[in-house]
């Protein structure tokens, strides 16, 4: 399992691996928002947590179609399915590798980009905490979407449409926790819901992903 994780991380940082794609997209979204809504620092401060969350979610979505499709194309998914690793472990590791290469950089970049959006000082901590709790759910749900569309050529459109509704609860509670934190309100309820969603999908989604992958590999 560690070998698979190391291989995926190594592939991500080598040429053509797509590492940094999500991060660059996140940067572009958050830099462009102040230009598009105009120089009103009050308004920016109010929407900053939501914009950061939306940017993180879209950046995550952007890299999903490579998650399993590359392994499918070169045949290594077939070979992994006949290897001693259970497919549940394969998809979990794939999701973990996706989180490390996409989700974690987003979490680390969010406070820096928060400055550009005039994020209130109290909000920095909660944006980072909510993203840290929420982005693993995005990767795990995204892996399920990638497993559903793995056999399709150019399945990116279908993948986005399938995954979007599943991302909604994470986005609602994540952005709400960050917004409340920035406003200085109590954050416990949305944060607990967010943590609950993440814990739930991490525990259950790998089984669903492995099941649809088995069907897709036939």
């Amino acid at each position: 399992m560690i070998a698979l994780l190391m291989r995926d991380l190594r592939l991500a940082v080598r040429a053509g691996g797509g590492f940094g794609l999500g991060l660059a997209f996140f940067l572009i979204v958050t830099v462009m928002v102040p230009f598009s809504v105009g120089p009103e620092s009050d308004l920016l401060a109010r929407i900053a947590p939501g914009v950061l969350w939306l940017g993180a979610l879209l950046s995550c979505l952007l890299s999903l179609d490579r998650l399993l499709a590359l392994d499918w194309e070169d045949g290594s998914l077939d070979l992994l399915a006949t290897a001693p690793l259970p497919l549940e472990a394969v998809v979990s590791i794939k999701a973990l590798a996706h989180w490390i290469t996409t989700g974690l950089p987003l979490v680390l970049a969010a406070p820096v980009l928060g400055v550009l959006l005039n994020l209130p000082l109290a909000g920095f901590k909660w944006v980072v905490i909510s993203l840290l709790l929420g982005t693993p759910a995005l990767s795990v749900i995204g892996t399920f979407g990638a497993a559903l569309t793995v056999g399709l050529k150019r399945g990116g459109l279908l993948l986005s449409l399938l995954v979007m509704p599943l991302y909604v609860p994470t986005l609602i509670f994540g952005a709400e926790a960050a917004r409340r934190g920035a406003m200085g309100m109590a954050v416990e309820t949305p944060l607990l819901m967010l943590a609950g969603i993440s814990a739930g999908v991490i525990a259950l989604m790998p089984f669903a992903s492995a099941a649809v992958l088995r069907i897709n590999l036939r």
């Binding site: 070998a3 592939l11 070169d74 045949g75 077939d78 070979l79 006949t82 290897a83 001693p84 036939r218």
Partner: protein
Amino acid sequence: MSLNVSDLRIARGGLPVLEGISFELTPGQALILRGPNGIGKTTLLRTIAGLQPPLGGTVSGGEDQIAYAAHSDGLKSALSVTENLRFWASVFGTQSIEPALKAYNLTGLRDRPAGALSAGQKRRLGLSRMMVTGRPIWVMDEPTVSLDQASVTLFANAVRAHLSAGGSALIATHIDLGLDATVLDVGPYKAAPLEFDDFDGGFL
């Protein structure tokens, strides 16, 4: 441990392609599958490797014993020859990749990225993966595609060494490997076409 296939009936895309296939593969034995294109050799091998369920019949004795080599080699072009091989070695829990490199004459290419290999060299790397799996039953789908004559000999020698070490091999191929092997022609086992008399049949 021998592989038992009895009265196997398999389908591709919901349509039966082969039926009534039975054979036994004992340690030390090689079985060559022959048959025209599209008859279902790949489907048969995928079913035996456990990638798809059979329509009927059973495959037994293959659980966690089979190493499967498909049409594509599953190589990552950004990784070097040794990195590719070492990855599969650790997935299968084996240690040494040197015998595999040596058997397929890849030692000179060990640090070359797989993307910079020729088609035949890639194939040799894909085949050397079978040696690092450490599994007794090799199931291989057209392993000699894009190999030159010398490499085919290397491959035949590797299979021979595997057989004499108590392994077995199931190989779908169109060429003569010069192995002392049983040949199974799957042509006569072609499944009878389905009768499309219901509404659903129109979609198959």
